[in-house]
């Protein structure tokens, strides 16, 4: 775990509700989850984000008890779950495919978990709870339908109601919106968040969609190849990525690779040595990467004026190669110094004021302030 992840705001007063300690899962010869340690707080919506196949689902399934960890511990609300079988764990999961029971009605699906409660709930209790859940997801009218008679969005809500019906201590969502159309997905994201907040359940959400993670989660854990790379709030992860993978996976970025000498980055394919500013400067001679977000890059027809204070500026001239006009802003693809190094800059449409925006082939200046670059050592 990185220094950055450890320095995420932490309140020792409230211990982590869910603690995952050094958990690993090996399938035959492949390590699907590699020594992950993680804490999730009560009532938090936590997103596990990573490209497909990186082990997110496996981690989630270990929490649910559907997969047995090769090593490590899972402690939920002070209870070690190691020896608790899946059907006795106080967690409920919503599956990527929804896994609605095809031979049961919507109400039957929602009631299924309640019927398994011991000591038994009375019929009235179950009916009341089912009605409450269906009202929560606004499907009262569909109680008697079979799952295949519902649209994708409705099925998703049934699955959600079913996994909330038992008031789990921990709600696990595996790619909850992946099966929906892009259009419905965006407004369902916010709906889902407000619903989870209303219920007040602690929730772990798995997704490969960074926008979804940013929109829904209060904190995000970035995974790659079974390793948890970084944990933080969405803006921490975006503004202060701890490694190249996070920087490139979340949003877009310009990466410059070089060696650290005299507080500058030398040897990169940027036309000049790069001025950098880091809280904790790595030792000279270290191989580092500088990540600069496109929206931190400023474009102009004139070279940048000096800035007050002792903030240095990195500037270079480049040729506009490609422009993608996206309404509120445009993305410029530049070729720096006439060489092969490309760079992207995201410029607000209002930036050019009265003047016309640069056209393809025009030479412009691109610059950014040294503190806007993030120094990465891995």
């Amino acid at each position: 775990m990185s220094a950055r992840a450890d320095s995420a705001p932490h309140f020792p007063a409230e211990p982590d509700y869910l603690r995952i300690e050094g958990i690993s899962k090996r399938f035959d010869d492949a390590l699907a989850v590699d020594n992950v340690t993680l804490g999730v707080r009560r009532r938090e919506i936590f997103a596990l984000l990573g490209s497909s196949g990186c082990g997110k689902s496996t981690l989630l399934r270990m929490i649910a008890g559907l997969e047995r960890p090769t090593a490590g511990r899972i402690v939920l609300d002070g209870e070690d779950l190691a020896e608790v079988p899946a059907f006795r764990r106080p967690t409920n999961m919503m599956f990527q495919s929804y896994a609605l029971f095809p031979h049961m009605s919507v109400a039957g699906n929602v009631a299924f978990g309640l019927r398994q409660e011991r000591p038994r709930l009375t019929r009235e209790q179950i009916d009341a709870r089912v009605a409450e859940m269906l009202e929560l997801v606004q499907l009262q009218r569909y109680a008697a339908r079979k799952p295949h008679e519902l649209s994708g969005g409705q099925q998703q809500r049934v699955a959600l109601a079913r996994s909330l019906a038992k008031e789990p201590k921990l709600l696990l969502l595996d790619e909850p919106l992946a099966a929906l159309d892009k259009k419905i997905r965006q407004h369902t994201q916010l709906e889902l968040v407000s619903l989870i907040r209303r219920v007040g359940v602690t929730c772990i959400l798995v997704t490969h969609d960074q926008e979804e993670a940013m929109t829904m989660a209060s904190r995000i854990g970035v995974m790659s190849e079974g390793v948890l790379l970084q944990v933080g709030t969405p803006d921490e992860i975006y503004e202060h990525p701890s490694c190249r993978f996070t920087a490139e996976f979340i949003g877009e970025t310009n990466l410059f690779h070089g060696r650290l000498e005299d507080g500058r980055l030398n040897g990169s394919d940027f036309p000049a040595p790069l001025a950098i500013a880091a809280e904790a400067m790595p030792a000279p001679g270290t191989e580092v990467w500088l990540s600069v977000r496109p929206e931190r890059v400023v474009l102009g027809r004139q070279p940048p004026a000096a800035v007050n204070g002792n903030v240095s500026i990195n500037a270079a001239q480049g040729e506009v190669d490609e422009i993608a006009y996206l309404g509120s802003h445009s993305v410029y693809h530049l070729r720096l110094g006439g060489g092969g190094r490309r760079m992207i800059a995201s410029v607000p449409s209002a930036h050019w004021g009265e003047a016309s925006a640069p056209a393809r082939g025009e030479r412009v200046w691109a610059w950014w302030l040294a503190p806007d670059g993030v120094v990465l050592t891995r």
Binding site: M1, G22, R73
Partner: protein, 332 residues
């Protein structure tokens, strides 16, 4: 968020996971059944094939049995195998070169293997285009066509062979002979029944669905766009068939062929009814040694040899088809 990755966390104890106890019980039922009614009987076959025929009930003396006089049984019992049955088969192999040798068993083995191979080939030649056309017909009619293949085979197998006896009957009242006579194509009834041709027809008739169903299951999943692509790239129909369709349907072909060939080797009812006992089959030899001849050790030895001969095809079937995919809907 606390300790780094270095802190080793103990692995959970390797106790059987939650399902394990239940799993044991679920697995024990079919295991016990198969051990008792499939594996143990085969061990007994081997045991009996090493026994001496005897006028007793059952009619053999086990190689493990004690002489009666000794009184108390000893453990472990002495093992005195009688290789007589295998020796008889071995003698026939030795006699192979001698002209005029009787070769009862060897000839029966040869007949059975040949008949099974021919049956498999004919079923493949008839069944492949048949299954192909069913698989390529409209989705609605497919089920009906398939149903029509299986329907005859849900009726009695013996009665279907019986039907062929009436059709092929060599007298004037045989149905095919009647038709040919009426049409004036022949003057005297043909010898249609009680020959190898009749047996082959009956075999193909009975085993065809075992070929068609695995082939169909395979061909229906074949992506027609591959063939279109091949045609588009200029492949002639025959080239496209050999280079695309055939390799892709290979599993179906193997599954179907094995489902026909293996049981056909032991088949004797059809040859008996349609061949009139003139062509001796190895299944019939087992049946006779087991029944009228009361030579169970010989029957068992022949069965052991038959299983040894079939072990390779059975392994191939198991590898290629018996897994619930290709041959998933294998049974009629």
């Amino acid at each position: 968020m606390s300790s780094g990755p270095a802190a080793p966390v103990p692995a959970p104890p390797r106790r059987p996971f939650f399902l394990l106890r239940g799993r044991f019980w679920v697995a024990s039922l079919p295991w016990a059944w198969l051990l008792l009614f499939f594996l143990l009987p085969f061990v007994l076959i081997v045991n009996v094939s090493l026994s001496t025929p005897d006028l007793a009930v059952p009619p053999y003396v086990s190689p493990f049995s004690q002489p009666q006089a000794e009184g108390r049984p000893v453990f472990p019992p002495a093992f005195n195998p009688d290789l007589g049955s295998y020796r008889r088969l071995g003698d026939e192999v030795a006699d192979l070169a001698r002209p005029g040798a009787e070769l009862q068993y060897l000839r029966a083995f040869g007949n059975s293997l040949l008949l099974a191979a021919l049956t498999t080939l004919c079923c493949l030649l008839v069944g492949y285009p048949f299954a192909w056309h069913i698989a390529r017909s409209a989705e609605g009619t497919r089920n009906t066509l398939l149903m029509l293949v299986m329907l005859p085979f849900w009726t009695s197998f013996l009665l279907r062979v019986y039907a062929w006896m009436g059709l092929l009957d060599s007298s004037e009242s045989g149905l095919i002979n009647q038709a040919l006579l009426a049409l004036g194509l022949i003057d005297a009834p043909l010898q249609l029944l009680y020959n190898s041709g009749a047996v082959l027809i009956g075999m193909v008739y009975s085993y065809l669905p075992f070929m068609v169903l695995p082939l169909y299951a395979n061909l229906v999943k074949l992506d027609m766009r591959l063939l279109e692509a091949a045609r588009d790239l200029g492949a002639r129909p025959w080239t496209a068939f050999v280079s695309i369709t055939l390799p892709l349907s290979w599993r179906g072909i193997v599954a179907g062929s094995m489902m026909v060939f293996i049981p056909a080797v032991g088949e004797f009812v059809i040859p008996d009814l349609l061949g009139g006992g003139g062509v001796l089959m190895i299944g019939r030899r087992i049946w006779d040694d087991f029944g009228p001849n009361q030579d169970w050790p010989m029957a068992a030895a022949v069965a052991v040899v038959m299983v040894l001969l079939l072990i390779v095809p059975i392994m191939v079937f198991h590898r290629h088809g018996g897994r619930g995919d290709g041959a998933g809907e294998a049974g009629p």
